[in-house]
Symmetry: D2
Subunit: 311 residues, 4 copies
């Protein structure tokens, strides 16, 4: 149950079987930092190139294909004042005829991030939105393990191994579960957002560097198919694909599997999900879109299921 502090000096823009930056054991905790989507650090200095450069990979001793890696986000916090966003909704998120007629030009907006007041405030450009201000909701845009089948998959997209899912629920306090595809698992993380709307529809959240702390736990011999997660109120699954319909299929199927693992049989997971499932939209900007399928933990407890986090 060691705690490691790791200062990154190399970053990756794909999730593959690269040389580990640190070897840790199940139960260990790591404190480290992430740069923003464009490779800028806590001093707002460009120390590497985008897209979404990742801190890691962290090698988890004894992790092997067929296992599941649990990661708890203990701390996820902006570590500088300036955040940046794009300024136009992506053309793949709008009607093609609208795009062909009147889409404004893209640009860059700057936001002041105040972790004392817990606010993100638009500071440029000058618009009628004035000092547009939103509460902070720090989240990890991109994280995952080395991809399936020896692949190295760009941090601009996502798949079974995780990646650029941009789900607002991947925040401090959440536990995520990832299928291990390579020896050591090889966990990466980066692309912190101080705030983000659903879907990351302008192609960015409020992009910023982070101080992070996470703890890992290895579940030997447990095979999952897609990323999963837990927070205080929900268990959830992530499906990553295009079209979004297919992401719905992946996430829903993975949730049915999870309910079967918890003890339901036959039509039971179907009857349950039918009247209480909820969906959240992750990224709808990237090559693969992300859909989250979730169920309230107290509903599961009410029907006698034992939902218990490993972390």
């Amino acid at each position: 149950m060691a705690t490691h502090h790791f200062e990154p000096s190399i970053y990756y823009s794909a999730l593959g079987t690269y040389e580990p930056v640190l070897r840790i054991e199940s139960g260990d905790t790591v404190t480290t930092t992430t740069v923003d989507n464009a490779g800028r650090d806590s001093e707002d200095q460009a120390v590497t190139r985008g897209p979404n450069p990742q801190t890691g990979p962290f090698y988890i001793e004894d992790a092997a294909p067929g296992d599941t890696l649990a990661v708890h986000f203990d701390r996820v916090l902006p570590n500088r004042r300036i955040g940046r966003t794009a300024t136009v909704v992506a053309p793949n998120v709008l009607d093609p005829y609208y795009v062909a007629s009147i889409l404004p030009k893209n640009g860059s907006a700057e936001w002041d991030i105040d972790v004392e007041k817990w606010t993100a405030t638009l500071i440029s450009p000058e618009t009628s939105l004035g000092k547009f201000c939103l509460p902070l909701e720090p989240m990890v845009g991109c994280f995952g393990v080395a991809a399936q089948g020896g692949q190295a998959i760009s941090t601009a997209t996502s798949a079974e191994h995780g990646g650029n899912m941009d789900y607002r629920g991947f925040c401090q306090g959440a536990t995520v579960y990832l299928p291990v595809f390579a020896e050591g698992g090889l966990f990466f993380l980066g692309d912190g957002h101080a705030v983000q709307g659903d879907g990351e529809i302008v192609g960015t959240g409020v992009e910023i560097s982070f101080d992070v702390e996470f703890s890992v736990s290895l579940i030997k011999g447990k095979r999952i198919h897609w990323p999963r997660g837990e927070n205080e109120d929900y268990i959830f699954t992530a499906g990553n694909a295009r079209p979004l319909d297919q992401a719905v299929q992946h996430a829903t199927t993975e949730m049915v599997r999870w309910l079967v693992e918890l003890g339901l049989e036959g039509n039971e997971p179907h009857i349950l999900l039918g009247q209480c499932v909820e969906y959240d939209v992750g990224n709808v900007f990237d090559p693969a879109y992300t859909m989250i399928c979730k169920v309230k933990t107290n509903i599961l407890q009410n029907v006698g299921l034992d939902v218990q986090s490993v972390l």
Copy 2:
């Protein structure tokens, strides 16, 4: 501002230019009933055939193509004890390989609806879920106006005119806005659900007959492209299409248009939506899927926009 009580004796399974059952004026209120998705009434008697038979159409005096019809759901309440659901997630909502291997057979489940206790309780079949119980969330599964261009569109699907959107937010207290495509608008509603999970993924909510009361207001000369809505906390737009990606495009574009109507210009609606937009999933079972794009009303007010319902 008359109040009409209407007892339906004929029902429609498409939204088209049928003979009106009642002519009302802008500002009027109607109390009536709806049968369930299969045509069963408050006595659980089959009085017509499915799918989703509609009460209506109600002709709104002076409504003409290019206007907008606002409808406020004053009251939306189950009026019998028994509700029914299907028991298997639809094959279009699960991974094709999962469907090919182990999908259980579909069936029918019965639920007891108690409006005193405000609960829906599974009463058959016998499963390990036992007396699975959920709080009521009554909602109108299908409503809309006569479809565009003289079409009559099945209540099994949805489009610009509304239809079978199955969004949990179409509930008591919500105001919906519909584009008028035919003289009189011709408003229909039906397919009440006592409870429903997001997406209506088993192809049904807890299907039940309703007592309803709604009030209408006609907005002359205002043209919208897709259904819109409002509740205490949000304004929202609905896009109906497959794939879900296209529903995202429709709903998002309609929200950009709305923000422009409220006074934003150029990149302003984009900058705003980028960091605070939310999406909800409506129906992902029907030929057309439904995506909801929504923004918190207080965020709009904070940047000085005047969001004021007509109803």
Copy 3:
């Protein structure tokens, strides 16, 4: 086996249960005319409005839901010199980022249609394409029967009943099969194209009025799910939906059903299709896209299947 000559004076832009313009019997032949997509006739006079106004409906005596209507296109021929096309690929057919950056404006081009020389020649605008000339391939863009479940579906789209499929194979000499959904079937046709690229990607073929002759045959008690067709070399099925993936599913499933009707069992239709199926793209411009699944008739004959047209 009567031959009727019908002069249209009314046209429909949806395929529904409208008053028949003519009642005919199975075995009969009809000669008539169609106007172009915008309602212009053989004199290039606007006699009705678009989109894709249809000649018909023709009521086939004894046709009832659950039957199949066969229609043979005996003659499909432009009856004036001027044809028109749009001049830009539709934004839904191009990459969203390309659309956002450099899509040219749409316009109208004129073509001279010479049925003696069998050519379509671009005559305006002036471009570096000069007298761009293509051989005629006259085809029926939109045809079908009254839609399923009492619906009236716009001629701007397509579904199980046919509609605006824009497949180049719907030409003189082809036999088409349509599922009957209403009493009398109610056959409509229109939207002739002198030439058209696959997909109708600019949203038009070379739009023109037609002289047409067709013969019908009613197949009592035979239920099909999607439009089918035959020509000298192939049998084929049409699937209409978005995304195109779903159109592939519909067309392929309907072909499997057809092969089962012809006598194949178990894996046999799958083994056969796997190594010799072919696909053609119909419309990829409309709300519903069209995919054609086809198999060479001689391959079927070589494995002993009796493929015999009714017409």
Copy 4:
């Protein structure tokens, strides 16, 4: 203009920046062999594992990101008698409700490949198809270069760099063009099919090992976005994505770009494509589907465009 003979001893199931097996120069020719999709060689011995193990990578001297690599398939020929296919259409290619009800089980079929008679003949299992026999159409199912942005992409799918596109037009006599993303380009090929239906809808063609010969030519400083190709009659582009609609967008946009490179301007490529474009369906089984957009070479020549292959 050297000719190299290369005997593979190592194979890759992803297209990434692996150690080259041979360094060649622009203008050189290579003769080599490929194993089948499951790693079986000309002796039908398993020498490596699937999916779709690739021969290569071949390093082309001087190739750098931003260049284009042209490869001519001089010879593509089965080098053993036995070929194998799956026996059921993939569940993602059929209607979900059909899959849920009556999809037969998958299996393996064997085919005798006779390059003298130029036939593929089904030899097992025993079915009513008997000695089902098709003419050979040998094609390269999977080929490409090291993927974009340092990725290694599985040979089970496809993207901008090529990959498992399964297009029947990738056959002897075709020239293909690939965007170079890594130093040396790093060309791979494998997954030969003796015959294949459009779409590879059972998930396999008639899978077999090949003798191949190919020649390469490097086009410095020419940047393309998606694979392109040429044969005697057509120029064509490939788009790889899901849904198929997006593959249509990629392929069509790349064709517009190509026509602009050939000298067309403004609406000219649009007017031309609108009335003569053709589409072929590549793989519709994999995570990414493939659509081919093509235009007849003689049409281009007729409007004065100089279409001239580099090979």
